[in-house]
């Protein structure tokens, strides 16, 4: 083009000798980061499934604990009921012809006898 300015005299610079090596290093780092990112992202679903399994195991063990807690409560309530029965029988002792000792369980009878013995 006739109108162009002649820049042929203007000095041109060349890339520094180590520039390409720097580019390669940066590309290597970027690739490593990409691989690492991929590993992290692929590990997430694995970790999530482990967590899910652990959580379900935890839930089932909590269920077992609750079941044992209920049975303990049931035992305590049964013991309370038997002691009420014992006191009731003890209070009515001598008020009827039969002391109804045979209606008590062996354990309750033993408890009563032990108490009497301590007195």
């Amino acid at each position: 083009m006739h109108d162009s300015i002649d820049f042929s005299k203007v000095e041109r610079i060349a890339p520094r000798a180590d520039s390409w090596d720097k580019v390669c290093k940066r590309l290597d780092i970027a690739e490593k980061a990409k691989v690492l990112r991929f590993r992290i992202y692929s590990a997430i679903p694995l970790a999530a499934s482990f967590a899910l399994v652990a959580f379900s195991l935890l839930l089932s063990s909590v269920d077992a604990i609750e079941t044992s807690a209920i049975s303990t409560q049931q035992v305590a309530s049964a013991q309370q009921e038997s002691s009420t029965e014992l006191y009731s029988w003890y209070g009515e002792l001598g008020e009827s012809e039969s002391d109804e000792l045979e209606t008590l369980d062996n354990s309750q009878t033993l408890t009563y006898l032990l108490k009497e013995d301590k007195k």
Partner: protein, 180 residues
């Protein structure tokens, strides 16, 4: 090597193809960024940034223009981003040349006997984008079509800016020679 083969290899992540591109284009990219930023270290940084982003950016390149044109576009964008980031607004003043009146413009003969340093000074007095445009057109010999792709501007706008830029540089040289 055929540009299509280089492009295909680049898309598949070939380091050898990138090295080949570096051999052919790194000098042009460096000089363009140096002309825009007027700083050797920053120009080297831009050169490395451009080539580091090539393996990723090439995936979106459809091969509608030459690889060199595409590289120049990456370079111009990277330089403009750097100038904006550093808030070098005087370098980005796009309407700066519009204030030039035709009567004050210098003649073409002014540059005939001028030294390279003065010519560089004249070029550096232009805003960065126009400076790079003039450099690519007159020093790197790109055509208007390439420039429209690089700057995303209509050819009329490119031609007008080039014309004003040339007048500005010639006027600058005339004034400097008169003062000398």
């Amino acid at each position: 090597m055929d540009e299509k083969i280089i492009l295909k290899s680049l898309k598949s992540g070939s380091r050898e193809a990138l090295a080949l591109l570096w051999q052919e284009q790194s000098g042009h990219v460096l000089n363009l960024s140096f002309k825009m930023l007027k700083d050797r270290d920053q120009a080297e940084d831009i050169l490395m940034d451009v080539f580091v982003q090539v393996p990723t950016a090439i995936q979106k390149f459809r091969g509608e223009s030459a690889l060199s044109t595409w590289l120049y576009r990456l370079t111009v964008n990277a330089c403009l981003m750097k100038l904006r980031k550093e808030k070098r607004h005087d370098e980005l003043e796009k309407e700066h040349l519009d204030s030039i009146v035709e009567e004050a413009l210098g003649s073409k003969e002014a540059e005939a006997d001028v030294d390279a340093e003065l010519l560089t000074m004249g070029l550096n007095a232009l805003p960065a984008e126009t400076r790079s445009m003039l450099w690519l057109k007159d020093a790197e010999d790109l055509d208007i079509k390439d420039l429209t792709e690089i700057y995303h501007m209509p050819s009329g706008t490119i031609k007008a800016r080039l014309s004003r830029a040339r007048h500005f540089v010639r006027d600058f040289l005339t004034r400097k020679q008169k003062n000398a």
